[in-house]
Symmetry: C2
Subunit: 252 residues, 2 copies
DNA sequence: AAGTGGTCTAGACCACCGT
DNA sequence: CGGTGGTCTAGACCACTTC
């Protein structure tokens, strides 16, 4: 059998052993690129971990970690006694604007945002519980509409901790919450989301340019920083013809 | 500071070093149990990895893996130079029937299912592409209604590979797809899902006992086995007042 | 029997955080 | 500065699959 899964030799020529980027990340990224581009075709077998490690002068745990990351992303499948294969399914498809993170990560570059409302309010029961602050303490409440290609896509309602009370309207419209929080030393690490559906309210239907009571996709999220403190609580609703969520599950 | 994060001494007394259950899994499970039960309270600090390893007579990588699994589940947060903490947020909340896997995993025990339709059809364009089979090849098509507490919750439409062509109606109603496929040697490893919303069709609204054109939550999924072959394609719609999806995201 | 991934060990050095 | 997690190494033994 000539198919020994030997990878293209030039894939890993430029590994940087002194820079700050971890080796497992460099290996994983190059491998992911090769798979998504189709250069390593679906269903093809990879070299075994030890051989690959020797060719790259890397230890087996380092190789394993790089491969495991791609397994977690759903790009590779491992079977004991068999080997590692590229999945057959639709791999090359990029995650476009349906990623679950993009509300946080886009912001500055992505679709535009219009600020509808921005007030400082005392945290009510549900908000106070979600953010983990005392009832009645001051939090920032904002309401925005997100546009993609000049068409309304979502209505975003958020409650934020005191750090952002000083943000200007211009900042809120231009920079996205994730970025604003980062600039103030707050980085999100964990988020819990609930996705559902309901009929649009009269106001929402107007903003989204859909019929009253038409279906909307809803998502509510609480995000936590590295210390475990809640730093964002939001309730969003989306036009279902312009937005959907994509999730890849891996059996562990 | 007396808070050295020292864990309860009896947590790890019964580690089985000879059985088939990996040590990192045993450690992780016990830790998860202690966190979810509140025995290790939110915000509390854990011992550092090396100390914990010494106390349990385990190497640092083994401890790290156990902890990392809980970080990936959103139960713990690690910070370099600081330590590992239990997140502050709502942790103890069980995942009940909103897990993204339960359609696959419940089946036998969970809510009941009524089989509406079961036919062998030639794979049409979209189905053939999703399942990765030739156009027109025989696949099993089934349509079911899922009930929870005797109330309709979802309409499930699935296309399945030839392995299941011989399944009886009783099996289909009683055992759940995941279990039936497992019994035939097929195990799912990766699934890609898309979650959206739309208005219910007349037939769906009747089955779900809701108004015509009322909102429904939709999910379509393609599942792959260990070899990367597609083994299930399904389109489901849910009553949004009885079902929603819960997702935990971790920044990696 | 040979080859694969799955687990585990016992170290090492580094980057980052607090004091 | 000491303590923490982040990375990396070089081995070892095992379980599983295929031949």
């Amino acid at each position: 059998m000539p198919d020994d899964g030997r990878l293209p030799a030039d894939l890993f020529l430029d590994l940087d052993r002194s820079g700050p980027v971890p080796l497992y990340f460099q290996v994983g990224s190059r491998l992911e690129e090769a798979i998504r581009s189709g250069r390593i075709p679906p269903g093809s077998r990879l070299e075994n971990e030890i051989a690959l490690g020797e060719r790259l002068s890397l230890s087996r745990p380092t190789i394993r970690r790089a491969i495991q990351d791609l397994v977690d992303k759903g790009l590779l499948v491992r079977r004991r006694g068999i080997g590692t294969q590229v999945v057959h399914g639709p791999v090359s498809r990029k995650v476009e604007l349906t990623s679950l993170w993009d509300d946080l990560q886009a912001g500055s570059q992505g679709p535009s945002t219009k600020l509808l409302d921005r007030t400082t309010v005392g945290a009510s029961g549900a908000v106070a519980e979600a953010l983990g602050v005392p009832q009645g303490s001051a939090v920032l409440h904002i309401r925005r509409v997100r546009f993609a290609d000049d068409a309304p896509m979502a209505v975003l309602e958020n409650y934020l901790p005191p750090e952002l009370l000083d943000a200007t309207d211009e900042e809120l419209a231009a920079h996205g919450l994730y970025q604003l929080l980062r600039m103030r030393g707050v980085t999100m690490r964990v988020a819990k989301q609930r996705i559902g559906a309901r009929a649009a309210s009269r106001e929402e239907s107007k903003l989204l340019e859909i019929d009253d009571l038409a279906p909307v996709l809803t998502m509510s999220r609480t995000a936590y920083d590295a210390s475990g403190r809640a730093v964002e609580y939001g309730t969003h609703c989306y036009r279902p013809d312009r937005y959907s969520f994509e999730v890849t599950l891996v059996d562990k």
